[in-house]
Amino acid sequence: MPFLIFTLAFLVIPTFYLASGSFQNLAVAPNDPAHGAFTLQNYSALSQPNLADSYFASIEISLVTAVVGGIFGFLLAYAVIMGGLPRFLRSALMTYSGVASNFAGVPLAFAFTFTVGASGILTPLLLAGGVHLNIYSKTALELAYLYFQFPLMVLIIAPAIDGLRKDWREASENMGASAFQYWRFVAFPILLPSLLGTVILLFGNAFGAQATAFALTGGSINIVTIQITRQIRGDALNDPGIGYALAMGMVAIMAVTIGAYALLQRRAERWQR
């Protein structure tokens, strides 16, 4: 029963609210008789170049940060767990990852601005090295996202790496396999379900992020969450119906992504109970 209440309150009712809003005409004033009337206009508006682009940008940023953060986080976790590094480094990295994975939104944007923004403390050094980073760009946003993406990867993948048994590696070596063959035939396939799951999680984490992008770029970057903000709370562009349709589009993309993940994972996990 508590689960049912929780699901209703935080999943079913909000989704229903979004879905019903996306089919209503909310562009007109509330006292207009057309207000709230059924329409498909909100969905057809999603094909406008500006809105379609926002999806592509969001997917690109999410994909890049999920993959790059995933690879970097995995290598980092692997290095401290299996790389023969001192034990204290592992505790230090896990503690840092716990904090950094939650260090997103406005604090991260400000930290990023103070460090590599126009007057950032590292900016003169970067400029001296010939690096000019525009913090309002997509690349800068991806870089900022990586600061919470890779620590999240470290946190989630570390237990999976811990689960790789030492005797699997030894058995593999004993059979004559090289380190590469061990990774190719044994370790990587065993880790694949966890890797897939974590990368999907990172994708969703970046896809739904709004505060970091908004605080860092002042809303100038065209991603879906910023577009939703503009449509629902904006002064110039105010059409909550389109905002709801945009949000439903996000739900659809996440559903497709999770569906694809489930298929892949079922294949990758066929050897599990």
């Binding site: 005797d167 004993n174 004559g176 396999a177």
Partner: protein, 366 residues
């Protein structure tokens, strides 16, 4: 001629010696067991043969080739792990064929060899299953087949049966021995189970605290233990404190009664430990020329045998076994009893107090 040779092997972790001055020469096709309690260095020695540990000193050679510093994947040594270590993402057939696959053997050859080994381990129809779909005994058979698939020069087994229940253990050890004989492969088997070591091996290496206590065929290890440790660890033993009356004739005083030891050697007047196997003692005078009298303290029914404990004098107690049969008249606690046993079964071990405590403990726990 020696095939697997370990010469002066040592392994040091910090200031602790895990293995000390280990020397062994095993013939081609010989089955050698390392027997000892946990922490005695037997697994460390096995892992040094496999290449997972580097000896601090000494050399290991197989067929005359020094492999001491060769990486594990270039030793052609097959190993069966205690925890099976089957790859969970691969089917049984893929697990068995793994070593051949990484050696880039043709697919047909791999398939043929896998089928052959599946037949050998009596799992011909289980090739498509995953390890989690098999019982512990079946998984261990697959692990054995996987180790044999690469046609190793030496087969290493690290307590392979310890996770299995008693009946499967007995059945599987017979299979292991039979397969080992069929392949004629030099095998090193690590165990802390004396029955396993004694029943399987051509020779047993008994180890304690990183050192070899005794190497020999199972009957020698059991009947003629060289040290108090071997005597206490292998089989069950009575320990009784005695004093040497005459070293030249091995006459001993045990709680005021005179017996003879198996061989002379101890100095007259020495305090020694007398070790007597429970199964060598008989009621009455038929067991041999050594005679002892005492009072029955306890009678335990152990299924196929009945074990009786007899108080000898004030300090010593001696247990003996009788085969259980419906007509057996077991002793009654408090009754007097006369026992006999042969002098050749009366081992005289140097040292009294510490060794004695260990032996008494061993018999008390058995």
């Amino acid at each position: 001629m020696s095939y697997l040779t370990l010469t002066g092997i040592q392994k040091q972790f910090g200031t602790t010696y895990a293995v000390h001055e280990f020397n062994l020469s095993a013939e081609k096709g010989e089955f050698v067991s390392f027997l000892g309690p946990s922490g005695c260095g037997k697994t460390t020695t096995l892992r040094m043969i496999a290449g997972f540990e580097q000896p601090t000193a000494g050399t290991i050679s197989i067929g005359g080739t020094d492999i001491t510093h060769r990486p594990p994947n270039r030793r052609n040594v097959g190993m069966v792990f205690q925890s099976y270590a089957l790859f969970p993402n691969m089917t049984v057939a893929d697990n068995i064929g793994f070593g051949l696959r990484v050696r880039k053997r043709p697919k047909d050859a791999i398939h043929k060899r896998v089928d052959e080994l599946l037949g050998l381990i009596n799992l011909p129809d289980k090739g498509g299953r995953y390890p989690y779909q098999l019982s512990g005994g079946q998984q261990q058979r697959v692990a054995l087949a996987r180790a044999l698939a690469i046609e190793p020069d030496v087969l290493l087994l690290d307590e392979p049966l310890s996770a299995l229940d008693a009946k499967i253990r007995v059945a599987l050890r017979k299979e292991i021995r039979s397969i080992q004989r069929q392949f004629g492969i030099t095998t090193v088997y690590v165990t802390h189970d004396q029955e396993e070591a004694l029943s399987l091996s051509d020779r047993v290496v008994v180890m304690s605290e990183g050192r070899i206590e005794q190497i020999g065929p199972p009957p020698d290890i059991y009947n003629f233990p060289a040290t108090p440790f071997v005597a206490s660890f292998v089989g069950t033993l009575n320990l009784l404190a005695a004093q040497v009356i005459d070293g030249a004739t091995a006459r001993l005083n045990l709680e005021g009664q005179e017996i003879r030891g198996s061989k002379p050697g101890a100095a007259t007047g020495d305090r020694v430990t007398v070790a007597i196997r429970p199964e060598t003692v008989e009621v009455g005078e038929a067991g041999g020329s050594n005679r002892l009298t005492g009072t029955i303290e306890d009678v335990s029914f152990l299924g196929s045998i009945v074990r009786t404990r007899v108080r000898i004098g004030n300090e010593a107690s001696l247990s003996f076994d009788q085969f259980n049969d419906p007509g057996l008249a077991a002793g009654v606690v408090g009754d007097s009893i006369a026992l006999s046993f042969p002098p050749e079964a009366t081992l005289v071990l140097a040292g009294e107090a510490n060794a004695g405590d260990a032996l008494e403990q061993a018999i008390a726990e058995s």
